[in-house]
C-alpha cells in the first residue's frame, strides 16, 4: 500500500464528520486537513497502529477551565504525529456558560510543505452534531 510523499498528499474520500452520499473526493491539502480534524475527534482508529492515534477533544467537556486552557501543547503534539504537519498552533477558548457546560472552542493553524490550513472545532456543537448524525 503506497504512502504518499509529503509533497503529494493524494486522494481520499471527503469526510469531515461523515462522507456524503456520493462519496465525494478530497485531494491534496484538504486530505491533510480532514485527517488533522479527525486527530482531534478520535482517540483510537481501526487497524494496526490505531491505538492512541489521536485525542478525542470531547473529553474536555466538563473539565475545569484552567485544565482545558493548558491542553494546547498536548493537542499540538497530537496534530504533529502526522508527518505531513510541520507545525501546529492550537488555541483553546473556554467561554463560561452559567446554564450548562462551558463552551470549548479549539482553533487550529497548521503548516505543511504545501501551505497552511486552519479550522475551528466547537467541541460542544461537535458533540451534539456527531451524536445526532450517528443515530
Amino acid at each position: 500500500m503506497a504512502i504518499n510523499a509529503q509533497a503529494d498528499y493524494g486522494l481520499d474520500i471527503a469526510c469531515w464528520d461523515d462522507a456524503d452520499e456520493l462519496f465525494t473526493e478530497a485531494v491534496g491539502l484538504a486530505v491533510v486537513k480532514q485527517d488533522a480534524y479527525h486527530r482531534l475527534t478520535t482517540e483510537n482508529v481501526l487497524g494496526p497502529q490505531g491505538t492512541d492515534w489521536g485525542y478525542d477533544c470531547r473529553t474536555l467537556l466538563g473539565a475545569p477551565s484552567e485544565h482545558v486552557k493548558v491542553m494546547g501543547p498536548i493537542l499540538t503534539e497530537v496534530l504533529t504525529r502526522d508527518d505531513r504537519v510541520l507545525t501546529a498552533d492550537v488555541t483553546i477558548d473556554v467561554t463560561p456558560n452559567p446554564t450548562g457546560l462551558d463552551l470549548v472552542t479549539i482553533s487550529v493553524l497548521c503548516q505543511t510543505a504545501q501551505g497552511p490550513f486552519e479550522f475551528t472545532v466547537s467541541v460542544n456543537a461537535f458533540s451534539e452534531e456527531t451524536l445526532s448524525n450517528q443515530r
Partner: protein, 424 residues
C-alpha cells in the same frame, strides 16, 4: 495443507486485509491516501474487522464439532486459539462432543472436602453454638500454597441437630465437622494435620485427622482418551480398553466415586495384554504418581462388580502402579531479557516436566509385549526446552543414559535435581 486444515485454522486479519485491498485495487480504487486513520483506510478497516469477526465463526464451529482432537472447553490449551487457556474453565465444545458422541462426561473441578475435629477443651473455653459456614479454617501446617487455602464448615443435618439448624458444643467436648475449601480444585487438597481454626473462639482448636482432597477438572487429553476407550464398554469380551475405561468412569459416562466421596483421580491405566493363565493385571496411576488406595478400591469395585467387565474365565487384579522416581537435572541456555530471572525459567521448566510426567503412560513408551518400556531422555530435553519461551538449548545431565527403563506396572515420577540457567 488439507481442506480440513483450512477450515480449522483461523484466518488472520492481515490475510483478510490483503484480500480486501486486492479486491479494491482490482476494482480500480482511486484512493491513494492510505494512511492510518484516513477516511478510506478506516472504511477498509471496517470491512476487514467485520469480515474477520465473521470468518472466525466457521473454524470455531468446525473445530468444536469436527473432531475430538480439535474440540476444546473454555480454559483448555487450544493450539488454534491462544486466548482459550485463559478463560474460566467451563463446559464447552469438548464436553458436549464427548457426551454426545461417546457418552462420557468430563469430571468438573471440585472443592476439596473432608473433616476437621473441633476441640472445645482449652483454657477459657465456653459453650459454643454455631451454624454451618460460620467457622473458618486455614491450611497452616506443612507447606501450604500461597495464598493458603481457607475452608468453612458445611451443612450436615447429622451434625447440626438443633432445631434452628445450629449445633451446640459443650465445654470439654469435641466435634467432627465436615468442611469444604473455598477455592476450587486440587489446590485445596491438604495433608492430614495441617488445618487449624482461624475464627477466634477462646479455648477452641481444630485440625484434620485425615487428608482433605479436591480435584482439578479432568485433563483434556485424559478425557479424550476416555472417550476413545468408551466403545470398549459395550464389549462382553473384556478388552483392555474396557478395564482402562471403567477404572474411572461408570457405564453411564459419569465418574467413579471413591469412598471419600470424590471422583477418582486415576488418569492412567496399564492392562496386561495377554495371558496364558487367564490372569489380567491392571495398574492405576494418578497425575502425581501411584493411584490413591481409595481410588484403587473404587476402580476395582466398578470394574468387577458394577460394570461386570471381567468375563468369568478371567481373574482380574487391579493395583496401584509402583512409583519409579526419575531424577532430572540439566542446563538450559536462553537470551537474556529484561525481567526474566533464573527462578522464573526453572519454575517454567519444572512445571512443564511435572505436566509431562503426569501423563506419561504406566510402563513408559515403546513397550515390549510384557508392558516394559522406557522414558527417553531426548523427550525430557524437548519438554524442558518448551518450559519457557526463548530457550534455545536444553541438555539433560541426569539421567545420563539415553533411556530410563520402566517396568510393567511402574509409573515414572519426576524428582527435580537441579537446573542451571545460562543467559547469553
Amino acid at each position: 495443507m488439507t481442506i480440513f486444515d483450512s477450515l480449522t485454522a483461523p484466518t488472520t486479519d492481515s490475510s483478510i486485509r490483503a484480500t480486501v485491498i486486492g479486491y479494491a485495487q482490482a476494482a480500480k480504487l482511486r484512493v491513494t491516501n492510505f494512511r492510518v486513520g484516513s477516511a478510506a483506510q478506516q472504511i477498509l478497516e471496517t470491512i476487514v474487522t467485520s469480515v474477520y469477526s465473521f470468518v472466525q465463526i466457521v473454524p470455531v464451529l468446525v473445530r468444536g464439532f469436527g473432531s475430538l482432537d480439535t474440540a476444546t472447553d473454555p480454559g483448555d490449551v487450544d493450539v488454534y486459539d491462544p486466548n482459550n487457556a485463559g478463560l474460566p474453565p467451563s463446559s464447552g465444545y469438548l464436553s458436549n462432543y464427548g457426551r454426545n458422541h461417546h457418552g462420557v462426561a468430563r469430571n468438573p473441578a471440585t472443592f476439596a472436602t473432608g473433616y476437621v475435629t473441633l476441640s472445645n477443651t482449652g483454657a477459657g473455653a465456653l459453650v459454643r453454638t454455631f451454624f454451618p459456614e460460620s467457622l473458618v479454617f486455614t491450611w497452616t501446617g506443612g507447606s501450604p500454597p500461597n495464598p493458603a487455602p481457607t475452608y468453612t464448615n458445611t451443612a450436615d443435618p447429622s451434625v447440626y441437630t438443633n432445631s434452628d439448624g445450629s449445633v451446640t458444643l459443650a465445654v470439654g467436648a469435641t466435634l467432627t465437622l465436615p468442611v469444604s475449601c473455598q477455592t476450587l480444585g486440587s489446590v485445596g487438597s491438604a495433608p492430614s494435620g495441617t488445618l487449624s481454626l482461624t475464627t477466634t473462639l477462646t479455648g477452641a482448636t481444630a485440625t484434620n485427622a485425615l487428608a482433605i482432597s479436591g480435584n482439578d477438572r479432568e485433563d483434556a487429553e485424559v478425557y479424550r482418551g476416555r472417550c476413545r476407550q468408551a466403545a470398549a464398554r459395550l464389549s462382553f469380551a473384556g478388552p483392555s480398553d474396557a478395564f482402562a475405561y471403567f477404572a474411572a468412569k461408570k457405564q453411564d459416562g459419569s465418574s467413579v466415586i471413591n469412598g471419600a466421596g470424590n471422583a477418582v483421580t486415576i488418569n492412567r491405566v496399564q492392562v496386561s495384554q495377554s495371558s496364558s493363565t487367564g490372569n489380567v493385571a491392571g495398574y492405576y496411576a494418578s497425575p502425581s504418581g501411584p493411584a490413591l488406595a481409595a481410588d484403587v478400591t473404587a476402580a476395582n469395585l466398578n470394574i468387577e462388580q458394577s460394570a461386570y467387565v471381567v468375563p468369568d474365565a478371567i481373574t482380574f487384579s487391579g493395583v496401584a502402579a509402583t512409583a519409579t522416581p526419575i531424577s532430572v537435572a540439566g542446563t538450559v541456555r536462553l537470551k537474556a531479557r529484561a525481567g526474566v530471572t533464573s527462578g522464573a525459567v526453572i519454575a517454567g521448566i519444572l512445571a512443564a516436566l511435572d505436566s509431562y510426567f503426569a501423563t506419561l503412560p504406566i510402563g513408559g513408551l515403546d513397550q515390549d509385549s510384557g508392558g516394559n518400556g522406557s522414558v527417553f531422555t531426548s523427550d525430557i530435553e524437548g519438554v524442558a526446552r518448551s518450559g519457557f519461551p526463548g530457550i534455545y538449548d536444553a541438555r539433560v545431565t541426569t539421567p545420563s543414559a539415553s533411556t530410563s527403563a520402566l517396568s510393567v506396572g511402574h509409573v515414572a515420577t519426576h524428582v527435580p535435581a537441579g537446573w542451571a540457567v545460562t543467559f547469553t
